[in-house]
C-alpha cells in the first residue's frame, strides 16, 4: 500500500520528516518497505511554448523545434518525440540542467546545428514510469516557470507499507494518519471537507436481495457534474500513488478510496437510478470495466439496475463498462456498500479478478464510513464542478446483520498479566481513545466500544494488543523468565546425535534430497510404488509422491555425483518417510517414521556391514541378518534383511545390479537402510561392570568345511552354544575356498578363547569342549577339516 506523506499531514499535524514518520510507522506495525521521494523539482526545467517545428532533410528521426520561454526569444531544440506540435506548452531542460537520472544537459549539435536544451517526457522528469512522448502541459500555462508548479505536482514522499491482515483501515490514508496522530500525540483531523451546495432530496431506491453477502448499500445523487480533467493536486496525488488519472469523476472516486478506504462507484444517474444487489443468474454475462465479458454463476453477487434488472457491477470487485460515467454525464449516482469479506475473497479467486476495491472489501471496510466518504467525494468534485449539488436523502439500506460497533470487556489484571504493566484507567483511555476506541471503566474492568473500522478487534486480547502497540513494544521492557524445566536433549535426541557423529566418523556426507518423488522413482530403485501418498496440488509432477524410502533420493544424488566424477561418493541421510496408514478413516495421518540410509559408491557389502556393526555398537542394539529374505531393490545374493524376529527393520548389502543399471551407475554400491525410529527409541540399561578374569586363557582353532548355502552365523551360533560358559570370545579368522575344499563349500576357521571363572582349565576340560564344538558343528552341517 502506497501512502503519501502530504495526505497524512493534511489529515493530522504530523512532523514533516519522512524518516521520523517511517520510524513511527514501523513501530506501529506498518512495515515500511521503501521510502521514495517524488516530484523533486528539477532546477533548470521551465515551461516553453513550441512556436514552430521544422523537419531537416538529412535527419528523419528528429524534429527541429523552435521554442519560446516567455521572453520572446526563439530557442532551437532538436527533439526525438513526435507527439508535439506548434502551440503546445512543454517542459524545456535548459543548458546546464542536471536531470533526475544524473544526465547533464549540454549544448550539443546534430548536423552542425546546436540544440539549446532538451524537451522532456514525464519519465525524464521522474513523475511517471510510463509515457509516450513529451509531457504536454495545459495550453494556457505560464511560460518560463517550473512545470511542476504548473501541474501542482508537489514534492512528496511515498511510503510503501507492508500491511498486516489485522489492519484493514490502513488501506486508507485516514487509518494510517489516525494511528500516527495517536503516536505523535497530535489531533487527528481527517480529510478537508468544504461545504458543497445541498440539492433537494432525491433518494435512490435500493433493494438488498442478499443481505448476508451485502448487508449495507448506500446511494447518493450528485448533480451539476461536468466531466472534465481533475485538478492538478488530484492528478498529482493519484500519480504518486500509482493510479492513472481518467477524469474528474473517476479520479475523485479513486482518491476517496485511497484516502478513506471506502471503495465507491459513480454511475451515470441517467442510466442507473435504482439498485438491487442480488445473486447473479448462472450464465448471466457482465462486461466489466476492464473490457472483459465475465460469465457469472449464482455464487456471484451483482449490483443490478433495478429498473431493468441488468447487472451494472460485480459486487465489491469491479463496475460494469456500460454504466460508466461518460462525457455527457451531468448527474451521478454514487454507490458505496459493505460486502461480506469472505464472499468477496471467494469471488476474487473464482474469477482471478482482483481490484483495488476487492482488496479492501476482502479485508473489511468501515460500514459506517459512507457519509464522510460522500462528503469528501463532493468536496473533490466541487473544485471542477462549480454547480455541483449533493442531494439530500442519501439512501443507506442496512440489514441487521451489518457489523456495528462491538462492546468488549477488558480485565485490568489481564492487561498486567499479558503485558507486565500496571495501567491506570486514565492510561488505558489515553492509549485507546485517540485510535477510536471508547473506554469506560467499571471497577477492575473496562468496557471498550470498538470502532467499526477495526473489524479485527473482537475480544479482550485484541484490545490488549492495541494497548501494547501504542504503549510501545520497546517500553514494555525485557526480562528473562526463569525456566522451571531443565534444558536437555531427550534420550532419542541424544542417540540421534550419536548416530550423526558416527556417520561423520565413518566418512559419510549428509545429503538432504527432496522428500517428494516423481512417479516411477520408487519403482526404479526396486521398491513397491502401489501404496504411496500423492500430493493433491504438486508444483510439478516430478514432485508429487511422498517418499516411502530414502533410497531413491540418495541413489539419485549418488548417480549425480558420479556423473560429475566425484572421486568418492558416500552419502547418508536421516529423514522422515511417509507410508500411508492402513486405515485412513481412523488414522488419517501416514505411518510417518524416521529412516537412516547410507549409500557408498564403489564399495561392496563389507562396507555396509561395517557400518551396520558400528551403528549397533553406537546405539547398543542388535538384530539378525536374514539372507533368506531378499530385501527389495538389493542385490539378491549379496544382501540380507535386518530383522528382529518376524519384524523387518532394514536391509544391508549391495544395491541390486538391475537398480544400478536403471540409474546408470557403474561399480558396486554398498547400502544400509534401517528404521531408525525403532533403534532410537530403545533405552539400553547401563552396562554393569564385570570382574576381569585373571586366570590363564587357552585358544582353540577349529576349521570346518561347510556348504555355501548355509549361513556362517548358524555355525558360529552352534559353536558358541557348545563352548558354553567358558567361552570368552569367538571369531571367524579365516575363510578359504579352493584346493582341498569341495566346490560349493568353503572352509571357515574359528578361534575360540576359553577361560574359566575361578581357576585354570585343564587339558582334559579343553579337550572336552573341543569335542562338543566339533559335534555341534557336525549337527549344523559342518565337518572338521
Amino acid at each position: 500500500m502506497r501512502v503519501l506523506l502530504s495526505i497524512l499531514r493534511e489529515f493530522a499535524d504530523l512532523p514533516n520528516d519522512a524518516d521520523l514518520v517511517a520510524t513511527a510507522l514501523n513501530s506501529l506495525g506498518m512495515a515500511v518497505e521503501s521510502i521514495e521521494e517524488v516530484g523533486i523539482p528539477v532546477p533548470g526545467v521551465v515551461t516553453a511554448r513550441i512556436v514552430r517545428t521544422e523537419r531537416h532533410p538529412d535527419a528523419d528521426k528528429v524534429t527541429r523545434c523552435f521554442v519560446d520561454t516567455g521572453d520572446g526569444r526563439e530557442m532551437h531544440v532538436w527533439c526525438g518525440a513526435t507527439n508535439m506540435g506548434a502551440g503546445d506548452v512543454v517542459p524545456l531542460a535548459t543548458i546546464g540542467t542536471t536531470m533526475p537520472d544524473g544526465r547533464g544537459i549540454a549544448r550539443r549539435g546534430i548536423l552542425g546545428i546546436d540544440s539549446e536544451g532538451m524537451l522532456c517526457s514525464p519519465i525524464e522528469l521522474g513523475i511517471s514510469t510510463e509515457s509516450s512522448g513529451l509531457l504536454i502541459l495545459p495550453p494556457n500555462s505560464p511560460l518560463g516557470v517550473d512545470p511542476f508548479v504548473v501541474l501542482g505536482i508537489e514534492h512528496d514522499v511515498v511510503f510503501d507499507l507492508d500491511l498486516t491482515r489485522n489492519r484493514p483501515e490502513c488501506w486508507g490514508h485516514a487509518g494510517v494518519a489516525r494511528d500516527l496522530a495517536a503516536h505523535f500525540h497530535v489531533a487527528y483531523r481527517g480529510p478537508r471537507l468544504s461545504s458543497v451546495k445541498h440539492g433537494d432530496a432525491r433518494s435512490i431506491p435500493v433493494t438488498l436481495s442478499d443481505p448476508s453477502r451485502c448487508p449495507m448499500f448506500s446511494a447518493t445523487v450528485l448533480s451539476g457534474v461536468v466531466v472534465t480533467s481533475s485538478p492538478n493536486w488530484v492528478q498529482s496525488r493519484l500519480a504518486h500513488l500509482g493510479m492513472r488519472s481518467i477524469n474528474n469523476v473517476v479520479d475523485a472516486s479513486n482518491l476517496v478510496m485511497l484516502e478513506l478506504n471506502q471503495p465507491n462507484h459513480a454511475y451515470d444517474y441517467a442510466s442507473v437510478s435504482s439498485f438491487d444487489v442480488r445473486r447473479a443468474r448462472t450464465g448471466e454475462v457482465l462486461r466489466t470495466l476492464d473490457g472483459v465479458d465475465r460469465v457469472l454463476t449464482d455464487e456471484d453477487l451483482v449490483i443490478v439496475n433495478a429498473a431493468d434488472g441488468t447487472p451494472v457491477g460485480l459486487g465489491g470487485i469491479m463496475g460494469g463498462l456500460e454504466s460508466e460515467v461518460v462525457g455527457t454525464t451531468s448527474t451521478v449516482s454514487l454507490e458505496m456498500a459493505w460486502f461480506e469479506p469472505d464472499s468477496i475473497r471467494f469471488t476474487v479467486n473464482r474469477h482471478g479478478l482482483r481490484s483495488e476495491a476487492s482488496t479492501r472489501f476482502e479485508r473489511g471496510v468501515d460500514p459506517e464510513g459512507v457519509v464522510i466518504a460522500a462528503d469528501r467525494f463532493a468536496t473533490i468534485l466541487s473544485e471542477t464542478c462549480p454547480d455541483l449539488a449533493l442531494h439530500e436523502g442519501m439512501t443507506i439500506a442496512r440489514d441487521a446483520t451489518c457489523p456495528s460497533a462491538r462492546r468488549v470487556t477488558v480485565r485490568r489484571h489481564q492487561i498486567k498479566r499479558t503485558l507486565g504493566i500496571d495501567l491506570s484507567v486514565n492510561d488505558v483511555i489515553e492509549l485507546l481513545k485517540p485510535i477510536g476506541f471508547n473506554v469506560t471503566a467499571a471497577g477492575e474492568e473496562f468496557e471498550v466500544v470498538t470502532p467499526t473500522f477495526r473489524p479485527d478487534c473482537e475480544e479482550e486480547i485484541d484490545i490488549i494488543e492495541e494497548i501494547a502497540r501504542h504503549y510501545g513494544y520497546d517500553a514494555l521492557g525485557k526480562s528473562v523468565p526463569s525456566s522451571t524445566v531443565h534444558g536437555r536433549l531427550s534420550l532419542v535426541q541424544q542417540r540421534r546425535r550419536a548416530v550423526r557423529r558416527l556417520m561423520v566418523a565413518l566418512g559419510l556426507d549428509e545429503a538432504m534430497p527432496s522428500p517428494f518423488l516423481a512417479p516411477g522413482d520408487l519403482r526404479s530403485v526396486g521398491l513397491i510404488e502401489d501404496d504411496v501418498l500423492q500430493l493433491a496440488n504438486p508444483l510439478v509432477a516430478e514432485e508429487s509422491i511422498l517418499r516411502t524410502s530414502l533410497r531413491p533420493g540418495l541413489l539419485s544424488a549418488l548417480a549425480f555425483n558420479r556423473s560429475h566424477r566425484a572421486p568418492r561418493v558416500a552419502l547418508w541421510e536421516i529423514g522422515h518417510v511417509y507410508p500411508p496408514s492402513d486405515d485412513k478413516v481412523d488414522q488419517p495421518l501416514p505411518g510417518e517414521y524416521e529412516q537412516l540410509c547410507i549409500v557408498v559408491a564403489d564399495a561392496d557389502l563389507d562396507t555396509a556391514l561395517r557400518q551396520w556393526n558400528a551403528l549397533c555398537e553406537c546405539l547398543a542394539v542388535g538384530a539378525q541378518l536374514d539372507q533368506s529374505r531378499i530385501p527389495d531393490g538389493f542385490h539378491p545374493t549379496r544382501s540380507a534383511t535386518i530383522a528382529r524376529g518376524k519384524q523387518q527393520i532394514g536391509a544391508v548389502g549391495e544395491v541390486s545390479p538391475v537398480v544400478l543399471a536403471n540409474l546408470g551407475i557403474d561399480g558396486r554400491v554398498a547400502c544400509l537402510e534401517v528404521d531408525l525410529s525403532i533403534l532410537l527409541r530403545e533405552t539400553p540399561k547401563p552396562v554393569q561392570a564385570r570382574d576381569i578374569n585373571r586366570f590363564p586363557s587357552s585358544d582353540i582353532d577349529l576349521a570346518f568345511t561347510m556348504s555355501e548355502e548355509a549361513p556362517a552365523t548358524t555355525l558360529q551360533r552352534a559353536l558358541r552354544q557348545a563352548a558354553g560358559a567358558n567361552l570368552v570370545f569367538i571369531e571367524l579368522f579365516d575363510v578359504y575356498r579352493g584346493a582341498g575344499v569341495d566346490d560349493g563349500s568353503r572352509s571357515l576357521a574359528f578361534r575360540l578363547r576359553l577361560q574359566k571363572q575361578g581357576g585354570t582349565l585343564t587339558d582334559s576340560e579343553i579337550g572336552e569342549i573341543r569335542d562338543k564344538c566339533i559335534a555341534a558343528a557336525k549337527k549344523s552341517g559342518a565337518s572338521l577339516r
Binding site: P481, V504, N537
Partner: protein, 341 residues
C-alpha cells in the same frame, strides 16, 4: 724392563687397531679373547712374568699388562656399543618412509564425513536453547488441518490461511491432510502431551507450495520456540529473544520487536537482530500465545500464559556461510557438502 714395556704397548696398539677393524660385536669379543688368551700377545707376556727376577720389576710389568688389559676391555666395550648402534641404525634405516608421501595416500588422507549445513545450524540453535532451559519437541511433517490451522486460531476459510501456500495430500476428505506449512502445529501437540510448565523448541522441516529460487525452497526448515508458564508476559518474550540473540550471535548483538500479525499470537511481533555495525537482520515472528491457541492445546488461558517465536534455519546457515543460492544447499553435490566440516 724396557723391552717388555715396549712389547706391551705394541701388543695393545695392535689389538686396538684390530678392534677398530672389527665389523661385529662377535669380532670384537674374539679379538679380545685372542689377545688376552694364553697364546695371545698379552697372555704370553703375562705368562712370562715369572721369568722376571726382580720383584719390583715384576710388579711393575704385571701392572702394565693389567693396565693394557683394562684399556683393551674398555675399548672393546666402546667398540661393541658403536657396532650395536650402527646395527640398530641399519634396521631403523631399513624402515625409513617418506611420511609426507604416506600422508598423501588416499586411505590415509580420507576426510571425515559431514553433517549438512542445516543440521549444523539446527544443532547449534538447539544447544543455545538448551542452555536457556528449553527442551526439544518433535512432530510429524504430514499433518492434519486441525493441527496446522484450526487449532492455531485459523478455522476453515480463515483469510490468514492464505498467508501460506499449502501443499495438500490427495486423500479424502480433500484438504484434511497436508504438509505442515510451519512448525507451529507441534505447539499444540506439545501442550496436549506435556504437562505445563513448558519450555520447548521445535525445529523441523516445513513445506510451502513455492517455486524454488535463490532464497525460497518448497521444503525448508524452521525452528519454533514456546513457553507456557504462569505469569508469562510480553517482557519475558522480548527478554528471551534478547537472551537468545546474545547467546547465538554474540554479546554485541541486540534485538527489537515490531508489531505484526499472526493468527496464533497476540500481541504479535516481528523480531529483528541488530548487528554491531548497526544494520538489521529481519529474523522471524513471535508473540504472546493467543488464548484460543492455549485453549486448543487443552490448557486454561486464565491459568497459563505463554509466548511463541519462530524463524527459518536455512537462512541462518545461508548467511553464516555466505551461500549465494539456497538451491546449492539442497543440490547434494559432494563438491558443496565437503566444504563444511
Amino acid at each position: 724392563m724396557g723391552t717388555q714395556s715396549g712389547e706391551i704397548s705394541a701388543a695393545l696398539s695392535r689389538a686396538l687397531e684390530a678392534l677398530g677393524a672389527a665389523s661385529s660385536p662377535e669380532d670384537v669379543r674374539s679379538i679380545v679373547s685372542q689377545v688376552t688368551g694364553k697364546r695371545g700377545s698379552l697372555g704370553l707376556l703375562k705368562s712370562s712374568l715369572g721369568s722376571i727376577a726382580d720383584i719390583e720389576e715384576r710388579k711393575e710389568v704385571g701392572a702394565s699388562i693389567n693396565a693394557a688389559s683394562t684399556r683393551l676391555a674398555e675399548a672393546a666395550d666402546t667398540r661393541i656399543a658403536e657396532l650395536s648402534a650402527s646395527e640398530l641404525h641399519r634396521v631403523i634405516e631399513r624402515d625409513r618412509v617418506d611420511v609426507t608421501e604416506r600422508a598423501l595416500k588416499t586411505d590415509v588422507a580420507a576426510r571425515l564425513g559431514r553433517t549438512h549445513l542445516v543440521t549444523q545450524a539446527t544443532e547449534r540453535l538447539e544447544d543455545v536453547f538448551i542452555g536457556l532451559g528449553f527442551q526439544i519437541a518433535e512432530g510429524p511433517e504430514v499433518e492434519s488441518d486441525f493441527y496446522n490451522f484450526e487449532a492455531l486460531n485459523m478455522p476453515p476459510s480463515h483469510p490468514a490461511r492464505s498467508m501460506w501456500d499449502t501443499l495438500f495430500v490427495d486423500q479424502d476428505p480433500q484438504g484434511s491432510v497436508l504438509l505442515r506449512t510451519h512448525t507451529s502445529p507441534v505447539q499444540i501437540r506439545v501442550m496436549q502431551e506435556w504437562p505445563p510448565p513448558i519450555y520447548a523448541i521445535m525445529p523441523g522441516r516445513v513445506f510451502r507450495r513455492d517455486t524454488p529460487d535463490a532464497t525460497h525452497m518448497p521444503v525448508f526448515h524452521q525452528i519454533e520456540g514456546m513457553v507456557i508458564d504462569r505469569n508469562i508476559t510480553f517482557a519475558d518474550l522480548a527478554g528471551t529473544i534478547e537472551a537468545f540473540t546474545k547467546a547465538f550471535f554474540g554479546s554485541e548483538f541486540t534485538s527489537r520487536l515490531r508489531p505484526s500479525y499472526f493468527p496464533f499470537t497476540e500481541p504479535s511481533a516481528e523480531f529483528d537482530i541488530r548487528r554491531p555495525d548497526g544494520s538489521w537482520i529481519e529474523l522471524g515472528g513471535c508473540g504472546m500465545m493467543h488464548p484460543r491457541v492455549i485453549r486448543a492445546g487443552g490448557l486454561d488461558p486464565d491459568e497459563w500464559s505463554g509466548f511463541a517465536f519462530g524463524f527459518g534455519i536455512d537462512r541462518m546457515a545461508k548467511e553464516r556461510h555466505g551461500v549465494a543460492d539456497l538451491r546449492d544447499m539442497y543440490s547434494n553435490d559432494v563438491r558443496f557438502l565437503e566444504q563444511f566440516p
